[in-house]
């Protein structure tokens, strides 16, 4: 069965600094991969997804992620974070043809002014 690991429970970065959130997945074939963001007290919103083609995908709010099959990773990056990026970030995987998403444990991002 597919699974997702987000090694970092909590990350703090300064406003304007670059950001990388790690995500490792376990699945035998090419997975469908997602990053979602959750602001406090809200539901989740899709940032970006990968299912085929270019391994570097662009998302909303200036985020991007790179699919690396050799490392089973799908890390999320942003060149310069803003205070409004403070939130919880979830990586998720869906097996091809499956309707169900499996989520990682989440990474809480704090931004220092």
């Amino acid at each position: 069965a597919q699974s997702v690991t987000q090694p970092d429970i909590h990350i703090t970065v300064s406003e304007g600094a670059s950001l990388e959130l790690r995500c490792n997945y376990s699945y035998g074939a090419t997975p469908y991969l997602f990053w979602y963001v959750q602001s406090p007290g809200q539901g989740l919103q899709l940032l970006l997804k990968y299912f085929s083609g270019d391994t570097l995908v662009q998302g909303i709010k200036g985020f991007e992620a790179e699919f690396k099959r050799s490392q089973s990773s799908f890390n999320l990056r942003k060149p310069s974070v803003h205070w409004s990026d403070a939130a919880e970030y979830f990586c998720a995987v869906a097996a091809g043809g499956a309707q169900k998403l499996v989520f990682g444990q989440g990474t809480r991002l704090t931004i220092n002014p």
């Binding site: 987000q6 997602f34 539901g43 997804k49 299912f51 998403l101 989520f103 990682g104 444990q105 989440g106």
Partner: protein, 113 residues
Amino acid sequence: IAGITQAPTSQILAAGRRMTLRCTQDMRHNAMYWYRQDLGLGLRLIHYSNTAGTTGKGEVPDGYSVSRANTDDFPLTLASAVPSQTSVYFCASKSGGAAGELFFGEGSRLTVL
């Protein structure tokens, strides 16, 4: 505004009581899901429905039941609530197939005493 509506927003419930969390979507999505979110565990799938009239078990189905009488509604029932079911519950629906985006409600916070 199209989306997913969950009710109630918050509820405190005595152990042993029956509770139904309501979820309605107006996007005509075939697939719907119930997740619970717990600190350090991310989102875990409780039950899902790929289309009206069908349901399936997720990762943590015990103690919960669902029904899908029509496309729009997907209620989650706790037959006899226990304290371990204290959580935030999110309903979601999906557009398209495995690569489709999940749309989330704003969550229902349930406390079982």
